[in-house]
Symmetry: C2
Subunit: 468 residues, 2 copies
């Protein structure tokens, strides 16, 4: 979202080469507001021209708020201060950027960065795609347990300007050497909030003030766990540790909010049978979107071909009671709709961690009863529908005395298909979860396709039961 | 999610009337952990028994983390300390609780609360359901602009124990009297983070340190705006103001995370055609879920009845080429699938504020092109399909020399229906948005239903074109 108010002004200042004006613009507004104003078809050269007028810290702050694609374009035309800018960026954001750059650009940019930062970048780079490590930052405030509250505040004054958050301070022991002589991460002993430090008597020891009932994340956990943890504990940040409780970094609330938004988008898209799309929808390349959508349409098309063979199997019935074919789309749609409802509810509840192990039987029983209750409701509607709203063209073709057979066949099919759709919609995600796979694989179009195949079988069996 | 480790232990301590043990349990663990352990079929009386052993501040903290339904049950059996407990609860959480209580319970509980808290509750109570006011808290730290940094920290020491967050401190002017003699809210002048207060020289004035380029929320804005704001600015909290910039309260990051999770759940459910379900899926009443699902199944069933009349309209064609009916479910499913993909992508992009006003034409053009490109891909697949995989039973009924007509009719129908599904899937949400309504009203089953009706028309027209 651009900031329509400022971008024309920036354009004018660029044309006039008004450096003090551009500097004032960068320094006086919130960096996010500056970045929004700049997200408006400026060239990378123009963007560098604008932010170069500001202090390097402001440059880094504005740069972080620019869309990833813009960051990449700017890095490809990097100015000499790029190295310094990377030093001032949040440690997690700069790794995200470097992951997006083409290899040769990464190399040339890395040459601008000093030794310590290079090591930090390499470490964060090494964590797996979907792990907690991939969204953590190494930018945290820490203290030894032996400090007093007053000393602690002084130490934070020295550390803070470079830290992403100082609101939780991590208390660690002295670094130990590993067998091979390298330093192991410092062991996490406790945590203390800046609030508690401020409220404490000046001479109290951090050791006595700190919270030792720690809630931690492991660097190799799936990052989905993070959202559940933050939602439960209302954290601003949470520490990430290794096997021996060595502190590796922290995950901060803003990254969790982004994560939750992104995962919700992914879930919504997957539910509709769309492969993952990187970034904003309109920014994504045309053929990337085409492939994400087309791939699934093709898979579903191929699976749905099953309906042809099933229908062909009932070819003779079809010829005998062709007039009943007008009810097929209606009956099949019931299964798809009931199935997507059930699948969505179950998949979301699983994602939010709402089911406990001992709940499974309860979920199973409840979904069966729910499917039956929904089928009963739709059945009632179907009786009304068939009794009063069957088109004349169907009625004239009905063998004499078969009016109630028609009603029974259609209502039976509607109820059977509804029951079957709702049951497979609820059970398939649970089954897949039990196999240890991601239940969201069962997208609703996939459920609808399966339910269509079963629906045709149910439909023709009801027809056979009441007509032949 | 319960904490399976602690609940048996709690049960044992309750049976033994081990008050010191229960006190230790409540005080030494994180309140969220205590609440989890207690979320395990304890009676309200037992829950009161457990938490009553702890300090009132701990009682309030644990109580806040209990599920809403449990809070209500406990309030109905309120102990005398309920009033004190409400005083210590976050201002927003206690209003959420009171909103859930039956009228007579609210009244009796309110009698336990003192004047100032009663007024605060009444104010928060008065904000509309979906407004920013409904998720804000009046629990914030504030300062006059004339204080020095050192005085500011001292003042915070005095205010902080009762404040939900002291990490941002709001700088306000003196309270002014309104025409009617009542006090107007203090006007918001600026904001300063606790971090900046700590880093500042002791004698610097708050007035000179504070940030005055403020990003604020209005109390009557739609609460959806909050998520976008926090995602953009990485806030821990944001101030809420009235028309004359009077500070009414703040919205904090943890409430925003809850909001985003809840809205994502709602969006997922709506997309699958499920009415809103309050709270966790398994906790919701059976008949409440039945109605949320059944209502939509019924509406879709009634709309889908349109397919019967449209099919009946083509009755004569149907009789002449009955063998082609086996292709109907396949062709219709293509429209539903393409439509749900497009609708989901567009609705989500709208919800995240990704489209700008000037993008509309671009979205329109792109979706048309995308629909055409997807139709082309599926068309190719359909030619292969029809050429090689048409069942024998269909081929024998085909008039001689009509093999390529069959191929053209089916492929034409697949392409036409895909194009039509994708276009209406993308355009209906955009159209509804343009009318100022919520685009998520266009749930994917609704799109699928509309696309079925149009799909039948396209199918029979293709058949007529190539067969009669």
């Amino acid at each position: 979202m651009p900031h329509p108010l400022f971008s024309p002004e920036v354009r004018m200042m660029l044309a006039e080469e008004n450096a003090p004006g551009l500097r004032e613009f960068c320094e006086s507004l919130h960096p996010a507001t500056v970045a929004e104003a700049l997200d408006d078809d400026f060239t990378p050269e123009q963007l560098w021209e604008v932010i170069s007028q500001a202090e390097i810290r402001t440059q880094a702050a504005v740069f972080e708020y620019l869309p990833p694609a813009t960051q990449v374009e700017m890095a490809e035309k990097a100015r000499p201060q790029m190295g310094q800018l990377l030093t001032k960026m949040s440690h997690d954001d700069r790794v995200d950027l470097l992951k997006r750059l083409p290899g040769r650009v990464t190399e040339s940019v890395m040459r601008l960065v000093d030794e310590a930062d290079r090591k930090d970048i390499a470490t964060l780079f090494s964590y797996g795609e979907n792990t907690v490590g991939s969204i953590m930052t190494t930018d945290y405030a820490w203290l030894p347990a032996t400090a007093t509250a007053a000393e602690a505040v002084d130490q934070l004054r020295a550390q803070a300007p470079d830290k992403e958050t100082i609101y939780y301070v991590y208390v660690v022991d002295d670094a130990a050497r590993r067998g091979d002589g390298s330093l192991a991460p410092r062991r996490l002993l406790g945590v203390i909030s800046l609030r508690d430090l401020i409220l404490a008597p000046r001479h109290a020891l951090v050791r006595d003030l700190m919270e030792t009932d720690l809630v931690t994340l492991r660097y190799d956990q799936d990052k989905e766990a993070v959202a559940q943890l933050f939602a439960r504990y209302d954290f601003i940040a949470a520490p990430v540790v290794d096997d021996s409780f060595g502190l590796l970094g922290i995950v901060t609330h803003d990254d969790v909010l982004d994560l939750v938004q992104r995962e919700a988008t992914e879930d919504l898209q997957r539910q509709a049978g769309v492969g993952p799309i990187e970034g904003a929808y309109l920014e994504a390349g045309f053929w990337q979107v085409w492939w994400s959508r087309g791939k699934w349409l093709a898979i579903l098309f191929i699976l749905q071909m099953g309906t042809i063979n099933v229908m062909a199997h009932f070819e003779n019935d079809l010829e005998r009671v062709t007039f009943l074919m007008v009810f097929v789309p209606l009956c099949l749609s019931v299964g798809g709709n009931a199935g997507s409802q059930a699948a969505t509810l179950v998949i979301r509840a699983l994602a939010l961690g709402e089911f406990r192990a001992r709940d499974w039987l309860r979920v199973f029983r409840r979904e069966i009863l729910m499917a039956a209750a929904l089928a009963a409701g739709l059945g009632a509607l179907s009786v009304v529908r068939t009794s009063f709203f069957t088109p004349e063209s169907v009625l004239v073709k009905l063998p004499p005395g078969f009016f109630w057979n028609l009603n029974a066949a259609i209502t039976g099919a509607v109820m059977g298909i509804c029951l079957c759709g709702a049951v497979i919609g609820a059970m398939l995600p649970l089954g897949i979860k039990a196999l240890g796979r991601d239940p969201a694989l069962m997208s609703t179009p996939l459920i609808a396709t399966l339910s269509d195949v079963l629906g045709i079988i149910i439909f023709f069996n009801c027809v056979r039961l009441f007509f032949f």
